[in-house]
């Protein structure tokens, strides 16, 4: 069980390493479509409201509606605010969310999708079985 517990910790540490590596990145959240977090890593700079499920879940509606715009399925939505930016990617049944400063490099955040794809496959296996229960 000690080894099993370490997996979650290892994941969090890995996410924190990424946060340290990218200038201006404050939080990485992997959640389900309702915004309930599966795993997340955040620094103290992140606005707490951005971590709430009600906020993250707006992406589910947004991506569904955006898929109707005639450009085929929506993959990602970038929301720019005065001080922050939120980059959310649709990795059904999961949502991958990044909360960063508005000056952070959006291209790098979008590029993190490739880097985290292996990790997301593992997490998806965990969530899928839970969701179908």
């Amino acid at each position: 069980m000690v080894e099993a517990f370490n997996y979650s910790q290892e994941l969090k540490q890995y996410l924190h390493r990424i946060i340290r590596r990218v200038d201006g990145l404050y939080a990485i959240i992997v959640s389900d479509r309702d915004g309930v977090p599966v795993i997340r890593a955040a620094t103290e700079n992140v606005p707490e409201l951005a971590l709430r499920p009600g906020f993250l879940a707006t992406f589910s509606t947004g991506t569904d509606q955006a898929s109707k715009l005639g450009l085929s399925r929506n993959k990602a939505i970038v929301s720019m605010y005065t001080s922050y930016q939120v980059v959310q990617l649709s990795k059904l049944p999961l949502i991958l969310s990044f909360v960063a400063s508005s000056q952070a490099n959006t291209g790098v955040l979008l590029g993190l999708e490739n880097e985290l794809s292996d990790l997301l496959k593992d997490i998806k296996a965990a969530v899928d079985i839970t969701v179908s229960q």
Partner: protein
């Protein structure tokens, strides 16, 4: 109208007037053959069957349109309640920790270092860093690219908000 030989699928109503045979959507083979079959049984049952078919076709169209329409005011948001949130969050984290982890899975997270030893290091470091022509080339190209981006302007062609032509 009233003729047992029904019109072919592809042939649209020639006179342009919609009659009871005019399809709103291209019929699928099943429903079409049903109508053809019931035609030969007399007028009353066939018209009822036809009505039922048209009703289902109409409701299908309605459902399809409703699915494609973006109606911001009608969006239902399912707010997760506190207890459900806590339940699911603990379920996920216990589910995560119960995944069987072999060493290889954890090793995937530790990528190998990108830097490798370069042989003949002094030769590499003392070589000419970059030629003057290359320097000039990148300077010119980036100046041209910046100038090209300044030419990007938004031209107003059509109105953004239009009204549907509902009489």
């Amino acid at each position: 109208m009233g003729c047992c030989c029904s019109s072919e699928d592809e042939k649209l109503s020639q006179d342009g007037d919609p009659d009871e045979r005019t399809r709103l959507i291209l019929p699928n083979p099943v429903s079409n053959s049903q109508v053809n079959h019931s035609d030969s049984y007399g007028s009353v049952p066939s018209s009822i069957a036809q009505q039922a078919d048209e009703q289902s076709a109409l409701s299908r169209i309605l459902m399809q349109t409703a699915n494609n329409v973006i109606d911001v005011s009608a969006i239902e948001t399912h707010m997760v309640e506190q207890h459900e949130y806590i339940d699911r969050a603990t379920q996920y984290s216990s589910r995560l920790t119960s995944i069987c982890h072999s060493a290889s899975v954890l090793n995937k997270l530790h990528r190998p270092a990108l830097l490798v030893d370069v042989p003949a290091l002094d030769r590499v470091l003392s070589a000419e860093p970059i030629s003057a022509s290359d320097l000039q080339f990148i300077r010119n190209t980036s100046d041209h690219a910046a100038a090209a981006m300044r030419k990007v302007v938004v031209t107003h062609k059509e109105d953004l908000v239009v009204n549907f032509g509902i009489p």
